[in-house]
Structures are given as C-alpha cells and as structure tokens.
C-alpha cells in the first residue's frame, strides 16, 4: 500500500509518457550487463560493484546473475514487486545474509576495493563500513545517547568527550539534535516512530560508514516524517553513498539519482532515475512504474 504524499510531485506527469519504442522483452535478459547498465555510472567513481551475483535460499534461487554499479556520493534506489529480491540483495551488501542458515552466495561484490565475499574479508570490519537502516525502526532499549554511541562503544571507544562529540554530530546529521538535545539520557523508546527512525539513521552515521543501506526506511512513517527522512537522504548524499529500497515510486523519483528495477530475482533495468521514469527501455519497467502490475 502506498502512502499518499501531501506535496505536489512533478513525477506523476512524467509517468504518463507513452511506452518507449524499444520494447525489449525479458527474453533478452540472458546477457543483461551491457544493454541494461546505465552508461553514466561508468564514468563516475564507483563505490559499490556487484558482479554475477547469484543467491540461493536452500534450493530456491532468490537472485540470479545480478550486475550493478553504484557511484560514490549518489543515491541508488531499488524498486520492484514484493518478493523480487530487493531486501535480499541489500542484505548481501553488508553480508547480513550470513546470519540466515542455508544461504549460498556466488559472484563478487566490491565495496571500494574490497571483495566482501572473499574468504579473508573481516565481516565485522565490513559492517562498520556499510551502515544499515531497517524497515521497522529498531532502537535499543537504552538511552538516546547510548543508542547513538553504540557503534563507537563496541569498537572500544570510551573517551567521554569523543563520544559526546560523535553523538552530537550524528544527531545533527540525522536532523534530530534539536528535538532530543535536552533528553539524551531518556530512553530511545519514548521517541515517536519518525524520531526513532532518524535515531537509527544517526546510529548508523556515528561510525562514519562509507555506504548506507536503507530497507524501506519510510514504510512505517507518516507523510511528514517521510518527508523529513527524504530531505535527510538528500543531505547525506554529500558525504555518503546511499542505497535505498522503496515501494514508493514518487519517493524513488524524489530522492534517487539512479534506479534499479528488479523482477523475480533478476535485475531488469537500471538507469538514471529521470530516464527510467520518463523513458524506460524495458516494457516491464514501464508497466511496473505506471502501476499496471506488481
């Protein structure tokens, strides 16, 4: 179910653009790399690169042959119908799927220069470089301060001044500082849903990751809280690289530079967001964007 956005959005107009002439069918997905990769990405510095990624839950294949590049300091959004593998792919990027029994991953994922599935990669160090924000806000049952300081504390940081500085910077970064600066000692569970989600973002920011992975961060928020998070994403882009999963087409259009459309575990198309929403190359993408299926 989509959340109605109160603000006027220009995208719906674009969505009514007639179907593109190319009309490629999914049959051509056998070698999706060249035709589907957004050429503009290739020229920018690359933060994240996914190559020939296959993922199996037991015998069931959830991702097939994904190729994807994410440019530094950009926002990439993943869209697609429910169950198409967006979350699965996102969780591949910081190896959260390791926690599930019976998962098999083939292929390569490069974060900067690190092959994150290489045997010598330290998962703990990797997760510090790739922060994650979940669909449902999940602050710890600790104080606001301790929530934000958590990442630094587990890295062994106990210098009070440094922690205070980092907490303030992160809360400011997440646009929450003014609302909570007088009650840092209060429990985080006393915050509103939107505040809690921004607290989770601040918590992820505190360890200064290189990339932030967000899985439907606004799906449980009201329109105003959603708008705040979206603004925040646009600001964070200056410092971080962001990958966001969303079911909200308008949101993808508003916040992301690039969009990737998935269907049944396959990457159908990825392109600059404007292009994707105005002039998708795949028929299926267009059907999905205009709401004809999914």
């Amino acid at each position: 179910m989509e959340i109605e956005d109160p603000r006027p959005v220009p995208e719906p107009v674009l969505l009514q653009v007639p179907p593109p002439s190319t009309g490629l069918r999914p049959a051509s997905l056998q070698q999706p790399d060249l035709p589907l990769t957004d050429p503009s990405v290739l020229s920018a510095p690359i933060m994240l690169q996914v190559e020939r990624l296959n993922l199996f839950y037991g015998d069931k294949q959830a991702l097939s042959d994904i190729h994807l590049k994410v440019a530094r300091n950009s926002v990439m959004s993943f869209i697609g119908p429910s169950g198409c593998g967006k979350s699965t792919l996102l969780r591949c990027l910081n190896r959260m799927n390791d926690l599930i029994d019976d998962v098999r991953v083939q292929g390569r994922v490069l974060l900067g220069d690190t092959d994150i599935y290489a045997p010598e990669t330290d998962v703990i160090a990797l997760r510090k470089r790739a922060g994650m924000v979940f669909q449902k806000s999940n602050p710890f049952p600790k104080s606001i301060f301790e929530n934000v300081a958590y990442g630094l504390r587990i890295q062994g940081q106990s210098d009070r001044n440094l922690l205070e500085e980092a907490v303030e910077r992160s809360l400011k970064g997440a646009g929450l500082w003014d609302e909570v600066k007088d009650r840092l000692k209060d429990s985080a569970q006393g915050l509103s849903g939107g505040q809690q989600q921004r607290l989770c973002i601040a918590r992820a920011l505190a360890v200064r990751p290189e990339i932030i992975l967000m899985d439907e961060p606004c799906s449980a928020l009201d329109p105003i809280a959603t708008a705040r998070v979206e603004e925040l994403i646009l600001e964070l882009k200056r410092e971080f690289t962001i990958v966001i999963v969303t079911h909200n087409m308008q949101q993808a259009a508003r916040v992301s530079d690039h969009t990737a459309f998935f269907w049944m575990g396959k990457l159908i198309e990825t392109d600059l967001t404007e292009k994707m929403f105005t002039n998708p190359r795949q028929r299926m993408t267009e059907d999905y964007i205009t709401g004809r299926f999914g």
């Binding site: 910081n94 959260m96 926690l99 703990i124 160090a125 990797l126 997760r127 510090k128 922060g131 994650m132 979940f134 449902k136 999940n138 602050p139 710890f140 049952p141 600790k142 104080s143 301790e146 958590y150 990442g151 504390r153 587990i154 890295q155 000692k185 209060d186 429990s187 569970q189 006393g190 989770c200 918590r203 992820a204 360890v207």
Partner: protein
C-alpha cells in the same frame, strides 16, 4: 434450549467457570496459610490457667484440647500441666464429666525455664544465698523485679561463651596445628614463640573463665521456692527462669506484652531443649543464607548453559536431546540429588580439597563433610533446569530486529549478546531465579545428606575471619519442622513449633520472592522506561 447453545457459543459460561475455579484455588491457598498462621501464632498468647478438682486431687493447667464422647469413650479434656520434672509428662487427659467447678486462681503462674518445659503452680518464697527474703505475694513481686537483671546476666554469660570462649578455642586450635607442622620441621625458635603465645592465650582463657564463674554464681544466688497445685515443693534458681507469666492476673495489655516478647524470642533467639523451645533464628538465617548462596551459583550456571544451547550450539538432535535431558532433571526426585551431592561434592570434591589445602587438620574434615556450600551447590543443580528454560525463553523472545541492528553496526556475536540480548533478557532470567528460589527454599531431603544439622554450633556468617564460612554446617527451617515434629521426644509440646516454623518458612520464601520480583520490576522499568 436455543438460548443455552447461544450462551455456550459466546463462551460466557467458560469465563465464569474458570473464574470460579481460580477463586476456589485462591481460597484454598488462603485457607492453608491462614490455618498454619492461626495454629502457630495463637501459641504465644497466654491462655488462662484453669484449676479443677479430680478424685485424685487438684489439677492446674492450660486447656489445650477437647474430645467429644464417642461410643464407650466419655468426653475428655486435655490439660497442659507442665512440670515435666515432677509429673513426668506435660499433658494429661481428664474425663470432662469429673471437672466440677473450674476456677482460675489469680496467683497461679506459668514459669518458662531453661529445662524441663514450663513450671505451672505458685511461688511461695524467694531466697538469696540460702536466706529467706520474702514469702507469699511479696516473693512473687520480688521475683518479677529481679528477673530482668538475672536475664541480663544469663545473656551476658551466653554471649561470652559463644563469642570470646569460642574465639579463644579456635585460636588455640590453630596454634596447635601450626605446632604440629613445626615439630616435624624441628624449628626450635618458632616453637618457643608459639609456646609463649599459647601461654598468653591460656591466661586470657583463665581470666575469662573466672569472670564467667562469677557471673554464674551471681545467676545462681537467687532461688525461688515453688509449689505445685497438689502441694509438691520445688526449688528453682532465678537464673534459669526465662519468663514468669501470671496468666490469670494479667490484663489485655500485659498479655500482649508477653505475646510480643515470646514472638520476638521465637524469631530472634537460639533454640533450647533440643529445639522444642526458644527461638529458631539460626534456622531462619541458615535458610536465607542457603537460598542466597544457591542463587549466586544457579544464575551463572543456568544462564551460561542456556546461552550455549540457544546461541552457540548447532541446533540438531544432540541439542534437542540435551534440552530434554535438562528439562527432565527437574523431575528427578530430590533425594537423588542429595545422594549425588553427598557422593560427588562432599566426598569427591570436598575430600580432594581437604587433601590439597587442609591436610594439617586431617583426619578432621573441613570441606570433606556436609556444609552450606555443598548443600547450595546441590540445590543449584536441582533448580538449574528452571533457570535454563526461563533464560532460553527470554533469549528467544529478544526481537530479531534488535540483534540485527547490533550486528549491522559491526558488533560481534558476543558483543551483541552482552550488550543487547542479555540486558533485554534479565527480567526473564529473574523469572527463572524466582521459580528456582521457590523450589529451592522448600527442599529438605537433599540437604539432610549434604550439610543440614539439627543444631549448628555456629552460623555460616559471623564476626570471625573470613566471616563467610561456607564449609560450616547449618540449620534449615524445613529440616527444623521435620526434626521438631517427628524426631523430638516431646512432640506433643512441639506441635505449635511445627506450625510456627512452617509459617515462617512460608514467610521466608515469600520475602525472598518479593525481593526478586522487585528487582525484576526495577529492571523492567529500566529497560522500557526512562534511563538505562
């Protein structure tokens, strides 16, 4: 008929049914506690001393029971006549029909004393070092005046005997052991130093003994001349009188005073007369202490087991089997745990500890005999399944999203467990502890094999270094009930003690549980509420 099925479908009937059952259960529990409390607490209230005339002579005592006529048997009344040293028994059954004209003479007394149970009769004289000081009512008031002072002297003697004398004995014993070690080595100088030390201690010991003798003489100086209702005379040193209760001459306030002082004596004093009189403080203390030591042992044991089973072990048939086995431990009869504790902890572990660290004092065992540590460990084993099950449940109930949040921050599994999962599970762990306490505090059978005694000479916690003596034997309320009720030579007189000790055991369990509940409430508030 249709209305009936309609009602059934709505389920209102079942709500009523279960509600009624619940009320019934609550009423049963209240009855149980109330019955025990009434039986026990009533015992301390001074009851009137009734004098009746029988064909064999007059009888004076408290009425403690009635039996209605049944067939051939005529109705009978039970009197507690006291004076075990004179009559040979505390209680007498008299045919109710023969009890003409019961009287309550004002000068009748019940005297609680250190030996032979209470004396019931009259005071006829009071003398000091053999010289008659007063007779009749004057003797009685004189005795009442002197009593607080003699009681104080007696307490003083007791405290010296327990404290100073015991302390000196322990020190002399320690020197004796050191001597034995030095003798084998042949260190003359050190031996001489020890000898002077022993001599010093011996002088102190003698001094203490002299002052004790003085106090004892003082306590014996005053003597009461007593007479039973049937005219037998008896001399009793005032020093061995605990309390004089002229039950028939007392007003409500006086009775209340006696009641409270008896109650206090019961809760705060040491037992007398092979536990059938005096207080049960050492048993209360031993019970609480044992439960606390058990809690300290059972929580780490259970939590670590549960952590391993739930978080680290590969979930498979082996873990399932271990889990079933742990749960079944809860069903093993507790006496079996006692046997295990005796064989493994006392003889095995304790014996080895003695050989390694306390070889000097062998063959007297230190840890190689029952003690509070072994008893608590045995009970910890007995109650560990509850803690394991409760902890596992609590660990499983911690939201997956919380763990993921921590892991995604780059925390290791252990950091996640320590910082997020365990803090969130502490209320659940405490629930386990509460259940363990409830189970452990009432257990008696395994303790009888691993360290409980009828009368412990010293407490497991006291003022002598190292203060906490986990090797010592201890007293326990549950065992006390059994001992007083079934093992004492005078079980009729000890009946109220059984009720009272049961009631106190209930109180101890409830208090310990309330303590843990309060802790859990505070933790919950801290987890969900304002600060952490």
């Amino acid at each position: 008929m249709r209305r009936m099925t309609e009602r059934l479908r709505q389920g209102g009937v079942f709500v009523w049914f279960s509600g009624t059952l619940l009320a019934f259960c609550l009423a049963m529990i209240l009855c149980l506690v109330g019955f025990i409390a009434a039986k026990g607490m009533g015992y301390f209230w001074p009851s009137p001393l009734v004098q009746v005339q029988t064909p064999e002579g007059p009888v004076l005592g408290e009425i403690t029971g009635q039996e209605p006529a049944r067939g051939e048997e005529t109705a009978k009344t039970q009197f507690r006549v006291g004076n075990r040293d004179i009559y040979g028994q505390d209680f007498r059954w008299l045919p109710t029909a023969s009890l003409a004209t019961p009287k309550c003479p004002k000068d009748a007394l019940l005297i609680e004393r250190l030996e032979y149970g209470p004396f019931i009769g009259r005071i006829v004289s009071l003398s000091h070092e053999g010289h008659l000081v007063a007779t009749g009512p004057a003797a009685m008031s004189g005795a009442l005046d002197r009593l607080p002072e003699t009681n104080r002297v007696r307490r003083h003697i007791q405290s010296i005997e327990k404290g100073q004398v015991g302390d000196l004995n322990r020190r002399i014993e320690r020197i004796r052991l050191a001597r034995r070690k030095l003798e084998t080595r042949g260190d003359i100088a050190a031996l001489q130093a020890l000898d002077t030390r022993t001599a010093q201690l011996q002088t102190t010991y003698d001094q203490v003994q002299t002052s004790l003798e003085q106090s004892r003489a003082e306590a014996k100086a005053w003597t009461l001349g007593l007479q039973t209702v049937d005219g037998q005379d008896k001399e009793l040193p005032l020093g061995s009188v605990v309390r004089i209760v002229p039950a028939n001459a007392m007003g409500l306030l006086d009775k209340l005073g006696v009641y409270l002082s008896r109650l206090w004596e019961f809760v705060a004093d040491d037992p007398r007369e092979s536990n059938t009189e005096g207080g049960i403080f050492p048993a209360i203390f031993g019970t609480v202490m044992m439960v606390l030591v058990m809690s300290v042992l059972v929580v780490p044991l259970g939590v670590i087991t549960a952590l391993y089973l739930r978080e680290y072990a590969r979930q498979g048939w082996l873990v399932r089997a271990v889990r079933v086995a742990v749960n079944n431990l809860a069903g093993v009869p507790s006496i079996v745990f006692g046997v295990f504790g005796l064989g493994f902890f006392v003889y095995g572990l304790g014996g080895s500890i003695d050989q390694l660290f306390f070889a000097d004092s062998l063959p007297t065992p230190t840890y190689g005999t029952g003690g509070i540590l072994w008893a608590s460990l045995t009970l910890a084993l007995l109650t560990v399944p509850v803690v394991v099950v409760a902890t596992e449940e609590a660990l499983g109930a911690v939201a997956r999203s919380q763990r993921e949040a921590s892991l995604a921050m780059g925390a290791t599994k252990w950091q996640t467990l320590w910082n997020v999962v365990i803090p969130s599970s502490t209320p659940g762990i405490l629930t386990g502890l509460i259940l363990a306490i409830a189970r452990g505090a009432g257990e008696v059978a395994p303790l009888m094999l691993t360290g409980v005694v009828k009368l412990a000479p010293s407490m497991p916690l006291d003022g002598t270094f190292p203060f906490l003596h986990l090797d010592r034997k201890f007293m326990h309320l549950g065992f006390h009930i059994y001992d007083v009720g079934f093992q004492s030579p005078n079980s009729e007189a000890a009946k109220p003690m059984v009720f009272m000790a049961s009631f106190l055991l209930l109180v101890v369990v409830v208090v310990l549980n309330l303590f843990a509940l309060n802790l859990r409430r505070k933790l919950r508030a801290r987890l969900g509420g304002s600060t952490f």
